[in-house]
Subunit: 433 residues, 2 copies
């Protein structure tokens, strides 16, 4: 089994679901290639599972349901955490670092919630904590932020980082599906977690944005401090109308450096159909990163699935194996913490798409546009429609020039008092710059 | 000047043109950030130039025209080579490695021609040789192949890797320019080297492909063994006709793993207008890399220019500085050499676009399609046109089903004998799979 005179790096694997099983397979398949690249024999010594009796296609002799057999084993150099969640995972990872083990994890919830603690602790112990797979799976966005763009000042990140949302929006646009119909299709095709709430409310994207912003700006970002809008309120009317106006709706995570702080938001936006992100459809992810010197870089690929995820986990393992070959390094995880101010969503500036569902009355458009004008919101384009087959049912759709968000929100508050209002207005930001 | 208790890494810079000057500026601007990330003070100790008197905006005390002051200085840990070319650059880099210095270079010609020698020698001396900037400047394609995709088997690479060619083709398509007009515009806008021949003949792309294929397949690829077609023969007629048929013409570099070998080619191809590479226009670059587990990853950004290039050079420097912080590593450059067979272009299989310029004669289309049929080439679409304002002047344009290249080439040989032929036929491969 041993290649040449290579040293051994022993892995303890925590969790063996779809990603874990694929990781074991990929590692075993590529063991010789890894030896060639690192001079190390990378072996799995133990696998922690809940139920030892379940068949998984991994060697039964390695399986245990006792975490101590991994965390207390001094011969295990590296723990790969694929349990998920923040309870047990956090406990085990803390214990593992404390015992001097390197960590590789695909757990975005864990890094988003406790990244600063874990990275600081790993730095103190001169151990690596790597999490390439936690954001967009096989797309090497974490490593690019940590290494390739280490020489540059990051000013802007905008990404389609949730494949479920992107799939649902694409399907709504391509086949005139309602949100519920598209969600059902996403579930049937395996593009959803068992509980899709984390995806469709935008929380999953916010966790990923917290991680990216932490690396880009050296700041410890709480997911709860990120303005987060999901797609669960998305109406087919808006998909249809914005398409007619030349846009696609995409759900994106945005981090932007301003002179007075950092703007962070997760939300649907209208993008021109020719925008490069407009052509990233279905389960695909894409992230734009803009560095002061490098300009815009765009990374595109599948952001989920056991194969790309386990390939990303294994790339982290290989990196640590390479390093382990020749002594340890300090300052491994290279994040310098800072505390920039976050800009409140009401203080951000955008162009907007505003759809106001109305009963068709004389003077309706006039009343709405007057309110907007009084609030200092200037209109760049207006489009009014009656809905086919319904008498008196209509939509007033407006595109605005750039304005501070608080202004349009006070206008909408006034619009809520109009008698001919037929439903809740839709407000979607336009573009990402 | 010194941060904290950090150690120093001294750089000797060879060459100080646009990229070198920008590198000096970027390093000086980001010195503190680099210290935070690496624990090292990274300093430039000496800069080799041809003409000491020329003003460059770099400290005059550092400038020398004697290479020995860098190559023989034991205090210089790392040589950044920005001279270009393969003569002096090769000599200096060999001497530097031999003297135990790490190398960072942006020189694709050097790596394409002598990569194997230099990497092997650096491995023997346990030194790093890094060349992120040599392919697509700030787009982290080299690091992704070396590290992120180190866990995967690369099966396919296809990239728009030459911004000059992409700019010219985009301009020909958008403004109906001839090749000469678009080339002139590229020169005026600074998108060309002083001598554009290397770009427009495809040789620059072939050098980049040699480097990418070397990293992807672990093989030492000679640039001269890569089938290379440029865009210098590109006709406006073909841009116009293929656009009508739903395609864009893009100049791409392709590496493909087959069971019996590696297919390597640099050539213009027809891509469906909806293809993701079709929307990468003007001076932008994009590279698709497909891993067995990871699937398709696409990297997009500006592939040239002093700022992105120097940012990429600096990212390599930072990586070496990090490593230097804590002892040396062996097997640094992680390439395992192999010698796969290369597949000859005549044995590759594609669909084709074939335009045959003719004088309009009865039976012309029949004669052409008969010849193709006899050679086993099957037609999927035919489009014949008379050129406006010209009597008897026409084009027969054919799209074929997939066939082995040698077949369509023998058909074209026969077509050359037809009396109504008005000019040289154009043959362009369709797609990249």
């Amino acid at each position: 089994m041993q290649n040449g005179n290579g040293k051994i790096i022993n892995i303890g694997l925590l969790g063996c679901g779809n990603v874990g099983t694929e990781f074991v397979r990929l590692l075993s398949q590529n063991r010789d290639m890894i030896y060639d690249k690192t001079g190390m024999n990378v072996d799995i010594k133990k696998i922690l599972v809940k139920d030892k009796k379940k068949k998984r296609g991994v060697p039964e002799s390695l399986v245990t349901n006792n975490p101590d057999e991994i965390l207390d084993d001094k011969k295990i150099d590296l723990v790969v955490e694929l349990i998920g969640g923040t309870d047990k995972a956090k406990e085990y990872v803390l214990r593992a670092i404390d015992a001097g083990k390197h960590i590789v994890t695909a757990n975005k919830a864990l890094i988003a919630a406790h990244g600063k603690t874990l990275i600081s602790m790993a730095n103190n112990h001169k151990r690596r904590i790597s999490f390439e797979a936690s954001v967009c799976a096989g797309i090497p966005i974490i490593r690019s932020l940590r290494e390739s763009l280490a020489s540059d000042r990051i000013d802007f990140i905008c990404g389609i980082v949730n494949g479920t949302c992107n799939y649902i929006l694409t399907q709504m646009g391509s086949y005139n599906l309602t949100f519920q119909e598209a969600l059902k299709k996403a579930i049937e095709n395996g593009f959803c977690e068992p509980d899709p709430a984390l995806d469709i409310t935008g929380k999953d994207s916010a966790q990923k944005l917290a991680i990216l912003a932490t690396l880009a700006f050296g700041s410890s970002i709480e997911t709860s401090s990120i303005y987060t809008e999901g797609i669960d309120h998305m109406q087919q009317d808006d998909i249809r109308i914005t398409s007619r106006l030349g846009f696609k709706i995409k759900h994106v995570a945005i981090a932007k450096r301003h002179q007075n702080g950092i703007e962070l938001r997760v939300n649907p936006v209208l993008l021109d159909k020719k925008n490069i992100l407009s052509n990233v459809d279905n389960e695909f992810n894409a992230v734009i990163v803009s560095g002061a010197a490098t300009g815009d870089l765009i990374f595109t690929g599948k952001g989920a699935g056991p194969m790309p995820t386990s390939a990303a986990v294994l790339s982290d393992v290989i990196e640590i194996a390479k390093e382990t070959g020749e002594g340890k390094r300090s300052n491994f995880n290279g994040v310098k913490w800072s505390n920039p101010d976050l800009i409140k969503i009401d203080d951000t500036e955008n162009s907007f798409y505003l759809r106001i569902p109305i009963y068709d009355r004389p003077g309706a458009i006039g009343s709405i546009t007057t309110i907007l004008g009084e609030n200092g919101v200037s209109i760049s384009r207006a489009d009014a429609e009656l809905i086919p087959d319904k008498v008196n049912y209509g939509n007033v759709c407006l595109l605005t020039h750039r304005c501070v968000e608080s202004r349009i929100k006070s206008a909408i508050k006034e619009i809520f008092n109009l008698q001919f209002l037929r439903g809740i207005p839709t407000l979607i930001r336009i573009g990402y710059h």
